[in-house]
Amino acid sequence: MANEELNSGNPKVDIEYRRKKSAEEMRYQVVSFALMIFLTLVAFVAVGYDGFSAWFIIPFILVLAGVQVAFQLYYFMHMSHKGHEAPALFLYSGVFVAFITLLAFMTIIWW
């Protein structure tokens, strides 16, 4: 879904192509939104429903959150587009430090 260098030299062709591209992207984004709403509902129902144990619910809703955030990053924040190599590096470096921090606080601090 590259959005760059779409110049064919013929403005009419370019406009048609871009219009098609943005309509396609909008479709992906609306589908992402529907999935995000669905994942949210599943997480709330899993917690509201009395039949599951905490050992199942907690990992389950954390995975749902992870999936939902991936949709947000790759479709809403356009990380699936070309030219997002540096943003991915910055973000994943942040995620790496975040992971270490959480691990430290939840384990060695109290042991």
Partner: protein, 210 residues
């Protein structure tokens, strides 16, 4: 291309936010900032998880499972998630050089964000006055209000940012000078929703599970 060049729908570039050097730098710098924000919120989440339900006298203080209720959190989640979609719409119209529709969708985003903030103020007020759960009542209270309050602060800042952009550029229309500004503000707004996804999961839902 110059930043103040006048455009039409036909001549507007496909990626206006990265057309100028200024735009490219804003884009890169802002993502670096978001990497830093990830670390900032991770430290607050880590502190919250380490201090969750740590109260001076158990039995006298309300714990996570006594405080949180599904309907309120669900409402807030839906408001913020929908506002993320409306800002996607705003950027769709920005790329199509439709300034009025972009402003309209940004306006809807702002309204949803304000509603979210209203619910959060109600929530905090409710905990403080009905449950005696305050910033200083326990380590749990401090960690909770710091994490959730910091997110709320980000929402308030994002709203002020978007409103300022809308007013400042109201008569200017779209050009390559302000397109990166709108784009970066919408990235910030999405990031606020990313953080909220973890807050509603880790703080509220896991809090209700126990």
């Amino acid at each position: 291309m110059k930043a103040d060049e006048k455009f039409t729908y036909e001549t507007w570039p496909a990626a206006p936010e990265k057309q100028t050097l200024d735009g490219k730098n804003k884009f890169l710098g802002f993502w670096l900032f978001l990497g830093g924000e990830t670390v900032l919120f991770a430290t607050l989440f880590a502190t919250y998880l380490a201090l969750k339900d740590s109260v001076p006298v158990s039995g006298e203080h309300n714990l996570a499972k006594d405080l949180f209720e599904i309907p309120l959190v669900f409402m807030m989640t839906m408001l913020l998630l929908t506002s993320s979609l409306t800002s996607v719409y705003a950027m769709y119209h920005m790329k199509n050089f439709n300034f009025k529709k972009m402003q309209l969708w940004l306006g809807i985003t702002v309204l949803l964000g304000l509603a979210f903030l209203g619910f959060e103020i109600y929530e905090f007020n409710h905990y403080v006055h009905e449950y005696g759960h305050t910033f200083t009542s326990s380590a749990f209270g401090t960690a909770f209000y710091t994490l959730v309050g910091f997110h709320g602060g980000h929402v308030a800042f994002g709203l002020a940012w978007i409103i300022t952009l809308m007013f400042r550029n109201a008569k200017r229309g779209l050009n390559l000078y302000n397109a990166p500004k709108f784009y970066v503000a919408s990235l910030y707004w999405h990031f606020i929703d990313v953080v909220w996804v973890f807050i509603f999961t880790v703080v509220y839902l896991m809090g209700m599970v126990g």
